[in-house]
């Protein structure tokens, strides 16, 4: 091994020890050398990039064991000019963020915490399309790696069997008419033991392992997510949101439901009937009026 790599046996030993510290299981034998026994389920770029080929999303990965929030790191990279598709991945977040300043619980190795830098040619009025596009990629990645049937709740949550398994955060830097960049934050509960979740999300959150009954490879899932995101995003920037409308509709759990829309000032009750070609939700209120929901909190009520 030392001969092949052209480095000393001590150097080999140092690298092996480094890998062991990361969690890789490697046996050593005085005569036979080293033997690789088991991989770790860390999200180190080497574990992910081999599966994604030349996918535009994930070409560059900034990997961290622990961060405050992957959004913070990605924002800085974007301001410094990082190219579209650059991803920030962390094993743990100490200040993971959800929407509206909410906390996103992000314990070590339980979930996937990833921020993707996007630079779409987009007007600020249409930024709702970004979480919708990401939602399609996320349900596809879940379908490809498990036998589960996830659903998208407009605009940016992924549910399995009535419980939230993933969320999307869309942080935008824009002028009045031009989006400069988007930091798409994705948090997914992969192998989270739901009994360890904080009280306020118990009963409403779940994880892939909880739903599958066994652990799911985080590295494999992340690779699949980047592949699906690359495909869906390319379709989106090439042909516009309308071309993804059917895929979104096929996977959604909002249309046909009674919804309560809260825009921070007032509440509207109605039935979600469709999303239009711009991605806005159209609801029919109780008096039969159609209303276009630009963006707001949507509570799902009784399923019809």
């Amino acid at each position: 091994m030392a001969d092949k790599l052209g480095i000393s046996r001590t150097a080999i030993w140092k690298h092996i020890n480094g890998l062991r510290k990361m969690g890789y299981e490697i046996e050593s034998h005085p005569h036979n050398g080293y033997r690789f026994v088991a991989s770790t389920d860390l999200l180190v770029p080497e574990e992910i990039t081999q599966s994604i080929g030349n996918c535009t999303i994930g070409k560059r990965i900034s990997y961290h064991a622990e961060v405050t929030s992957t959004q913070d790191i990605a924002s800085k990279l974007a301001r410094d000019g990082a190219e579209e598709g650059t991803c920030v991945i962390a094993e743990k977040q100490t200040s993971g963020r959800g929407r509206k300043g909410r906390n996103w619980v992000s314990p070590f190795k339980d979930g996937i915490y990833i921020s993707i830098i996007l630079r779409p040619n987009l007007k600020p009025v249409h930024i709702i399309q970004i979480p919708l596009v990401a939602g399609v990629a996320m349900v596809k990645a879940i379908e490809q790696t498990t036998k589960l049937t996830p659903g998208i709740k407009w605009p940016n949550d992924i549910f399995i069997d009535g419980r939230k398994v993933a969320g999307i955060l869309t942080e935008v830097n824009c002028d009045i008419d031009t989006v400069h960049y988007v930091i798409l934050g994705i948090g997914i509960n992969i192998n989270t033991d739901i009994d360890t979740l904080p009280e306020e999300v118990k009963g409403i959150a779940t994880s892939l392992s909880q739903e599958c009954g066994h652990n799911v490879s985080r590295a494999k899932f992340t690779g699949q997510l980047l592949i699906e995101m690359g495909k869906v995003y390319t379709e989106y920037v090439t042909n516009g949101f309308a071309s993804l409308g059917k895929q979104w509709t096929d996977h959604n759990i909002t249309l046909g439901s009674k919804v309560k829309v809260n825009d921070g000032q007032s509440e509207i009750l109605g039935t979600a009937i469709e999303i239009d070609d711009d991605g806005f939700l159209i609801i029919e209120t109780q008096d039969g009026q159609k209303q276009r929901i630009i963006s707001a909190d949507v509570s799902l009520q009784i399923k019809e």
Copy 2:
């Protein structure tokens, strides 16, 4: 003086020299001490804050002799939690920015380059209101400090007699439905010798001194601008954009003009007829249709 301030004569001398280096003119006399002769027209906070009282805009000023862009400094302050109304002021910008990545020529002490951190309770679809609000404050500040009659071109330029004297840049950090903060960038040509401007803006740009025939105090103007901005912004956050609609309309040069609207993809010809309660421009196209312009480049054509 040393007795009164309780510091040594050498300390006094050091401070006097510091002030002289900044451009303040101070005579010294062996027996009579120091005599203040003339102020400098620097935008040091002490020159500005004395005139603005307890105005919410400018309570905190981050002052710099030279920066890449006041927007960069203000963005960092905003991310770190700086409070609403914090201003970044520079005497010179080496990479001053205009809209759409254009350059904003920012030579030492010629103009005013200021970025204001705002935290309005605003949805991203309505960010057009921010430059409109700032435009009203800017024309009022010009009217209060000169005898000129400035006009606002929708959405964010200030003109005097057909030439641009000031511009507004609105940099927004937002989620899909919530504006986190706005960095309002304002650039005004105050004592700019228009013969020194780059070729590409000659003939289309002007300065207050050019229009007045004499220099204008930058410090006094800045104080007035912050006062007007404080008043107009307070009115806006309290009563909404509609309450400023008349003031905007009274000062605008867009309504009634033939306009060419370019949204980057297509061009529409029409007549600007009004702005609605949300701040969007309504134009009447040649076939009599009314169209709402969300945001785009507007070229003024023949004035009717």
